[in-house]
């Protein structure tokens, strides 16, 4: 299934900037960055639970926020892209 992860991490303090870097790192390990704080992660339920736990460990819920959107297995007809930085299709042929 495809899960869209978005976050807002406060970067007022250096601790916040550190959280931001670490949140981005975890997201990158599970999916692709489609916009600045937006990741598309193709995961199974186990991997999703893992990702969710890692992110919740990282953020400070008094200052930051996290959102998960579930696009399911039929995500292709639910996503439309316009403009620059076209994303790759993680289920399509990956040829470079």
């Amino acid at each position: 299934m495809l899960v869209l992860v978005t976050y807002d991490v406060s970067t007022e303090t250096s601790a916040g900037r550190k959280r931001l870097r670490r949140v981005a790192k975890h997201c990158q390990n599970f999916g692709q960055r489609v916009q600045n704080s937006v990741f598309e992660c193709l995961v199974d339920p186990g991997q999703y639970a893992d990702l969710r736990a890692k992110l919740l460990d990282e953020v400070d819920l008094d200052e930051d926020s996290l959102r998960f959107y579930f696009l399911g297995a039929e995500w292709k007809r639910r996503v439309e892209h316009h403009g620059a930085k076209v994303a790759y299709d993680p289920e399509g042929p990956l040829i470079i």
Partner: protein, 343 residues
């Protein structure tokens, strides 16, 4: 059930693959071309001048993602193997069966029978679709049937079975040309040639078989079998004999039909090939991309597995068959059920 994961193909020359967190980063000079999480992949296939970092290779080995390296023209160079995984007891069983004459015969017989039967189905399907040469095709179908009957007799030595397989291959490839509808001149085929392939059809067949070996090897490793210890193919250092064995039954169904449809649908044309001085005909970069794309799509198609009676993705067939083979070697089932395609 295992999930069908994606394969990353690198055909661009001079790129560098590195591990970055749990992702594979594809870099060209200082630019990142792609970043893919390793958990979405089952294999990485690199052609030509592609570099990879040691830590990435180690990571792929650990995660069971098979990394293979080929020359730019698709000739196998090496694969990266991590720590041996799976079950020692299963591997020991495998070696014992491979050393045992009767055990070997039983496996080889089913594989050879399935291969011949599947080749026959490919021809019969073409006859149903009314190709011009259905008469010569029908003749070869009869030949294959007689080979099949002889191969199915119990108690035959592996050498006899190898001979029958060769006979079937000759009959099958002898009329392979008739299966090509469009562009007969462009895609003239006079029997199988390898190392190097001498015509366009052979170039495509060799390339697709290479891809299949990669997938079958990784499937065997996935269930804990040793891909190097075969029954039909003799052991030779560096040769994935068991993968080649398992491939026999899958080849007509997965690989040959893909090549035929690429030609007959005119997805692959003359401009997708290049000829080298020695007479070798090889796919060029554009051609390889065309074939790889079709290959990946084909793997996502579903197939009604006759034993499981369930729909499985074509790309998972090597895994399903590897699992059956492991079950048989472990003694959990009476016989190894080779894949029979019903046309």
């Amino acid at each position: 059930m295992k999930k069908l994961l994606n394969t990353l193909f690198i055909t661009r020359q001079g790129v560098y693959l590195a591990k970055e967190g749990e992702t594979i980063q594809v870099k060209e000079a200082d630019e990142t071309l792609l970043r893919v999480p390793v958990h979405t992949l089952q294999g990485v296939v690199c052609f030509g001048r592609v570099n990879a970092s040691a830590s990435l290779m180690g990571f792929c080995g650990e995660r069971g993602v098979l990394m293979s390296f080929f020359t730019e023209w698709g000739e196998f160079l090496c694969r990266v193997q991590g720590p041996v995984s799976g079950n020692v007891l299963l591997r020991r069983r495998q070696y014992r069966v491979a050393d045992d004459v009767e055990g070997c015969q039983a496996v080889v017989r089913t594989i050879v029978c399935a291969k011949v039967a599947n080749c026959r189905q490919v021809l019969m399907r073409a006859i149903r679709e009314e190709y011009d040469d259905s008469e010569s095709l029908s003749r070869q179908v009869v030949v294959l049937k007689s080979v099949l009957e002889r191969a199915a007799r119990p108690g035959q030595s592996v050498d006899v079975l190898r001979g029958l397989e060769g006979e079937a291959g000759k009959a099958y490839f002898g009329c392979f040309q008739s299966l090509i509808g469009e562009g007969r001149e462009e895609f003239a085929f006079q029997g199988r040639s390898r190392r190097p392939p001498l015509d366009r059809v052979n170039a495509m067949l060799s390339f697709v078989y290479t891809l299949l070996v990669h997938d079958v090897t990784s499937a065997l490793e996935g269930v804990g079998l040793d891909p190097a210890c075969g029954f039909l193919h003799k052991d030779r250092p560096g040769r994935p004999s068991l993968a080649l064995d398992l491939m026999e039954e899958l080849r007509p169904v997965i690989a040959d039909r893909l090549v035929l449809s690429l030609i007959n649908r005119q997805q692959v044309r003359t401009r997708h090939f290049r000829e080298s001085e020695g007479g070798a005909v090889l796919l060029n970069e554009e051609g390889r991309k065309e074939v790889l794309t079709a290959w990946q799509k084909r793997k996502q198609e579903e197939f009604l597995h006759p034993m499981l009676e369930e729909r499985v993705a074509v790309g998972l067939l090597p895994h399903v068959q590897a699992m059956f083979l492991a079950r048989y070697l472990r003694g959990d089932s009476e016989m190894y059920p080779a894949l029979l395609w019903k046309g």
